[in-house]
Symmetry: C2
Subunit: 472 residues, 2 copies
Amino acid sequence: MKPSIPKGTRDFSPQEMVKRNYIFDIIRKVYQLHGYQPIETPAMENSETLMGKYGEEGDRLIFKILNSGAYLDGLPQDKTDSNLQLTTYDLRLLTKHISEKALRYDLTVPFARYVVQHRNDITFPFKRYQIQPVWRADRPQKGRYREFYQCDADVIGSDSLLNEVELIQIIDEVFTKLGVPVIIKLNNRKILQGIAEYIGAPDRMIDIATAIDKLDKIGIDGVKKELIDKGFSNEQTEKLNVFVFLGKNKTPNFHNSKYPELDMLHHSDYLASEICTKGVRELKSILDRIDYNSCPNTKIQFDPALARGLNYYTGSIIEVKADPSKSIFTGSICGGGRYDDLTGIFGLPDVSGVGISFGADRIYDVIEELKLFPENLSASTKVLLINFGEEEAQHCLKVLRDLHTSGISAELYPDAKKLNKQFEYADKRNIPYVVLIGQSEIEKGIVKIRNMHSKEEKELLPAQLIEYFKSI
Amino acid sequence: MKPSIPKGTRDFSPQEMVKRNYIFDIIRKVYQLHGYQPIETPAMENSETLMGKYGEEGDRLIFKILNSGAYLDGLPQDKTDSNLQLTTYDLRLLTKHISEKALRYDLTVPFARYVVQHRNDITFPFKRYQIQPVWRADRPQKGRYREFYQCDADVIGSDSLLNEVELIQIIDEVFTKLGVPVIIKLNNRKILQGIAEYIGAPDRMIDIATAIDKLDKIGIDGVKKELIDKGFSNEQTEKLNVFVFLGKNKTPNFHNSKYPELDMLHHSDYLASEICTKGVRELKSILDRIDYNSCPNTKIQFDPALARGLNYYTGSIIEVKADPSKSIFTGSICGGGRYDDLTGIFGLPDVSGVGISFGADRIYDVIEELKLFPENLSASTKVLLINFGEEEAQHCLKVLRDLHTSGISAELYPDAKKLNKQFEYADKRNIPYVVLIGQSEIEKGIVKIRNMHSKEEKELLPAQLIEYFKSI
């Protein structure tokens, strides 16, 4: 039997762990700097907490946990009368009966559940961050996994647009620290709604937005065709031509407080409807507050074709991509938005929230592609003490303890193997320094240090050892 | 619908997170100091990787994941012919068919699977640590959860007893850093085997060990009765009387290199059998290497009644408990042992390993009981900037960015609420300092700082702000 792991899941080696923790630590540090507090929720939630929150597709992609014990007992009688065939059994009903728990699908719904459940212990506005894995039964493919980490920050209990401004600053700070040049795309669901109204199909905003979202891929004609196939008229789709203009002019960024496209759209009758005006005003007041000079590596764009999270976002929509002029990576590496009534589903209505989520795995891929991981990242030990045998090893244990007490990571090779074997171990583990304390060193009262990189060796007094390793 | 989480699982609030991370960070730091490298494995493993590795009970307690899609399709024909009733369906067989993945039950088996799967990329001896949650469908009760973290360190590929010595040092260092006084109990499976042979029932070591393990609870007579019920003779059980002596004399610790009980046992015919002699020699060579003076808060005991992990441990057995003279907490808070053939089950035989596992949740309870958490542990922000309205807020955003650039955690209250509301927020969040920049401050070109604890207020020049917060 050749051991393996479920498809879409991964083991992480020490080398990968160090790189992943480098990313997590930066995100965590920036979150904390901005006053976000950590929480964690269980991997498994009650099914009713998750089911129906992510649309039909989501329900299918949620991993369900089989009840323990005799999970078939007490099946509804009418379903268990004789000449019933298992394969003809109503699957939805059976699943409901044999599985009452499911694995976390994202961090947003569990967070909403957390807020409602602990509402009395929480000080609002509540700024929390959460870095945990989530699970989705998606078809695995490059860059898409069945287990992956999300790094979320949300503010709940405040509808101030300053929260959006802060989240955009957080995004900029994280990617600046990581050295990744990015484009932050902004939109507002109300603007999408305005477009739908302008086209004369206010109740079909999602159809329209979903089509427009593909503008970059399929072009304006593709968008029109898709909508006509969905029953829109030529007259309606013609009104979308303005997006060609926008498509062309998306690249210039708001590196000042003037937003030509936005003003153009706004002052045309195009986005003049009441709801849309509100969306434009929200967007502008966010853009007005951003200190563009302080984020030189980050482009900030208004993209009226940006449509994501339309099932729950009600205001701002945020999406971050690696700068295409620097990276071939096209996927979204961070996203977020505002939801006016997330906790309503759990019985706490009218609490506005806004949040973002970093996709650590995709960010990892981009950093690898751009070779931006610091070279000194290492999971390794600094010092290996060579094992020359019983007596010498006993002698080394004291040295080892002194090194540890001084905070220097060190290990004693556990077996008295041939010297070259032990050197080989140090090399493969990228341990930079080896300390040799054999009989002759013990008699001379010295210790020998070998630099595994330069192969140089030098002799020191035991008392000098700590200082030496602290100094390098 | 009142939101809730599955029984046996927990949410962790910011306050709890900070305390938990305090424990994890200490364990992680000590592991790294000793040259252990981090890895992570997926939450879900293929069922065949886990099933049958933890005994029958374990198999029942493993959380199984329902296959996605039409999981009933392709059920063995003979089982799906008509007039079959679901409730009469062979449960084991059905489960095997509808569930091919399961949640990690511990970190040891996934680690063994990892080692075999990645054997060609691993440098042996391989010292790894792993801090991840595990899941067990146990009946929840105080201190026992269905989702809990394990913090494991294992060395694989070396049978040197120096590894045991290092792990005992790690245990001492972790609990010393945490301030928790502990007793480390040591035994060796070979000694238990020797007892079984001495009693004349070499093939019933596990029955005997399991009974002796209860000595503290049920006394020597209880132990004898249990064994007699299991078919042992009076003559055999009489031979266990020596444990009464040991029970009485367990408290004196090895704070020197003399081990009276061990020697007594050894030089009596009691533990003189070949296997037992080997066990005693292993134990002594571990005890001989420990630097007792350097671990004053840790008692180290030989406990021949200690029996745990008998399904896989083949040599050393380690168990750690809070010192009963200081804590009422009786459960084991750390444990481990040596297994000579862990990876054999996955096709890589004759690789010896030894490891330990810290029970973070129980350690948390002990630290709470003994009030040992540092008082300055806080998930909070250092500075809150008061929001006096549009214009002032805009002014504060720059100050905020300067604070963040200097690494000072700070936040701007998002809404221009009444001052007392914002003070109340700072109080509840335990934010020690509040900065007030209102119209008058802006005009005067100053900033006002309020110490939320002493209620003192002082005025500074904006330029002095950073230095001030860095200095305190």
